[in-house]
Amino acid sequence: MTLRFRDDDPHEEPAVTLDCFLTQEDAHAVRVEAGEDVRQLIPHFDRLKLVEIAFPRFRDGRGYSAACILRESGYTGELRAEGDVLVDQILFLRRCGFDSFAPVQPLDARLVEHALKRFPFVYQAAADAAVPVWKLRHG
């Protein structure tokens, strides 16, 4: 089950590997393994609808940097975290720009809601819309 935080329709085309995506010019969805360089996708943003980033273990934090790089480079399509995705990491994943989640184990919707609402303020700007407290302090 995929949890989505987007209003557009899900992109149903299966995601292909990064190598395939770079050579298949009609592909719109890509799956990125932990450790692969997402900057290779930057020239292809106009045809890219879905990026799925693998979390082989929830403690493997490479996907967080991958997501941030995509968002700060201007990618606006769906960004999905797939794999060992747990409720206790969901806030950070959202803040790094993930807007859909395909966890191996289903997530408890109530806990997800709490986790996303719990912290009223954040200290630093990230890929989400949250305003850092230094900005709130100085208007």
Binding site: A34, G35, D37, F58, R59, D60, G61, R62, Y64, S65, A66, C68, E72, L86, D88, Q89, L91, F92, L93, R95, C96, H114, A115, R118, F119, P120, F121, V122, Y123, Q124, A125, A126, V133, W134, L136, R137, H138
Partner: protein, 544 residues
């Protein structure tokens, strides 16, 4: 001192609520220990041999009396009546119950304290010069930058699941009291020709099984770009570090494998990207934070005279106080290294006593040093005698700053599940052997550091004399190292040869010390003599 505003407080309070829920779900079996472990570590909670250990953050080692009293209260209410100050200026409690941990965090939050990111694969509590704001030799107080970085790195979404731990230190003096080059990332405040503040930046240091000194990655970084630069470093490491072998995931290993030049190139390239995002805190925010660290209202026209008629007191003054930047004031070091005791351990009663002294005589401020002692940063010289009497009454007037009995020792096999050998009894035996103060003063500055295993929490790599506990065919064995330093002359210590048993290592240390006394030139410290004459004369003394 920094005071929380409603934002800081709301964030800390939310954290307590979050951890309470996580503990509840763990106890209810809704999450596995494997899933829970990184969450509890990010809240300072380790599972040790006998109980949970809670490590509470003391950002840049600065405490108020009120906070120290709370630490005493926690020791009394939730532990066995004492706490243990650590080599990263934090405090830890060794007898904690999991179900009480959220209550402890809630109590800490009432005095603007927390245990956030004190362990686990996160950006750890930031350490700083423990004389910051008082040292006669500092360019400016480094703590505002440390506080800015504390905020910037707290719950950083991109860097909360790093390959390993990441340690930062900040100083502002030519003399290094924070072991800068043993950190993953270290900053020394400097000024350029235009007198603008910036940082000399070091990266890639660390102890553990493969010690590396941090290398100078940037000679001058404009101060307000520090968060961008730090993020660039973290990103290069987070993306490219190995994830297949926990012993090869520290940033120092990546730096070593890529080479300093290539690592620097990648960081600078990433810095170009990150700088454009505009995530650096603006000048006004630095100024807001900095205002909290304005110097206390030092009196002027104070006497520099100290009545030295009590000889015990005079000895204590000479050893335990250092020059302050304000005339008529001194910095007081409170030894937590009683001979025969456990270094860094303090009882709740002693914490209360030191809090009282700080409130009455040091503008309500205290510091924790990375050598596991306490500091009263701003004491009028005319009050020193009263301060000494109050400390003496609490059993805290020992005289041994930087001397042979001022030993750093990790918890070792008495507490730690990773240990190969006990550290505390070895430190106690060495201290007892050298207990005579005249002998200690004659030997002079000598930093002994003891670790119970290769993880090096006792900093044996940085000891003038280092001791490393190893497991040799099922029995505890100790290796001797010589020539390390954590100061501005940083260097890794070198293993002398075959190890010793517990009594043998004490004898070996004594032989090394006696060889130094025989070889030293006037004014030379142990380390100076070792560096001048080299390894061989010491090896010969130790192994005969």
């Amino acid at each position: 001192m920094y005071k929380y505003d409603l934002y800081d407080q709301a964030i800390i309070d939310a954290r307590v609520d979050e951890f309470r829920d996580q503990v509840r779900r763990r106890i209810a079996g809704e999450i596995t220990e494997d899933q829970f472990k990184p969450l509890r570590l990010k809240n300072g909670l380790y599972l040790q041999l006998h109980a949970y250990m809670l490590r509470v953050a003391i950002p840049y080692g600065t405490l108020s009396s009120r906070q120290l009293r709370m630490l005493a209260r926690i020791a009394r209410t939730y532990d066995r009546g004492y706490g243990h100050f650590t080599t990263r200026q934090n405090i830890q409690y060794h007898w904690i119950k999991l179900e009480q941990a959220p209550d402890i965090l809630a109590e800490l939050a009432t005095v603007e304290m927390h245990a956030i990111q004190t362990s686990g694969e996160s950006i750890r509590n930031i350490s700083a010069d423990h004389y910051a704001g008082a040292a006669a030799d500092e360019i400016e107080d480094p703590r505002p930058w440390a506080e800015l970085l504390r905020q910037a790195t707290t719950f950083h979404p991109e860097f909360s699941y790093l390959p390993r731990k990441f340690k930062i230190a900040v100083t502002a003096s030519p003399v290094d009291r924070a072991a800068l080059r043993w950190h993953d990332f270290a900053l020394r405040i400097v000024r350029d020709e235009a007198r603008d503040t910036g940082f000399e930046v070091f990266a890639g240091g660390g102890m553990g099984r493969t010690p590396f000194l941090a290398y100078p990655i940037r000679a001058f970084l404009p101060a307000e770009q520090i968060f961008s630069y730090l993020q660039a470093v973290l990103r290069v490491w987070n993306r490219h570090a190995r994830r297949d072998n926990i012993h090869k995931q520290r940033m120092k290993i990546l730096v070593h494998e890529l080479g300093e030049a290539e690592f620097t190139r990648q960081v600078e390239e990433e810095f170009g990207h990150v700088l454009k995002l505009g995530t650096d805190f603006p000048r006004v925010e630095y100024e807001r934070i900095s205002a909290h660290f304005a110097p206390p209202p030092f009196e002027t026209g104070l006497s520099e005279d100290i009545d030295r008629s009590d000889p015990e007191f005079a000895l204590w003054v000479d050893r335990q106080t250092v020059p302050h930047k304000a005339p008529g004031y001194a910095i007081v070091n409170v030894s937590l290294k009683k001979v025969g005791g456990i270094g860094g351990d303090v009882s709740a009663e002693q914490m209360d006593a030191v809090a009282d002294v700080a409130e009455a005589f040091s503008f309500d401020e205290l510091r924790v040093s990375h050598a596991q002692n306490l500091v009263l940063p701003h004491v009028r010289k005319q009050d020193l005698y009263m301060v000494w009497q109050a400390l003496d009454a609490a059993g805290l007037a020992d005289i041994n700053l930087d001397l042979v009995t001022d030993i750093i020792a990790c918890p070792g096999l008495d507490y730690c599940s990773l240990a190969n050998a006990r550290s505390i009894p070895v430190a106690q035996k060495i201290a007892t052997r050298f207990a005579d103060l005249d002998r200690q003063l004659d030997v002079g500055e000598l930093k002994i550091k003891v670790s119970g295993c290769i993880n090096a929490c006792g900093h044996h790599h940085a000891g003038h004399i280092g001791i490393l506990g190893v497991d040799r065919k099922g029995t505890e064995n100790y290796q001797l190292l010589l020539g390390g330093s954590g100061a501005e002359d940083a260097s890794p210590a070198k293993i002398t040869g075959p190890g010793f048993d517990e009594d043998g290592i004490v004898d070996a240390v004594e032989r090394a010390v006696e060889r130094y006394r025989a070889l030293r030139d006037p004014g030379e410290r142990f380390l100076d003599t070792y560096r001048r004459v080299g390894f061989e004369p010491f090896k010969e003394a130790i192994y005969g």
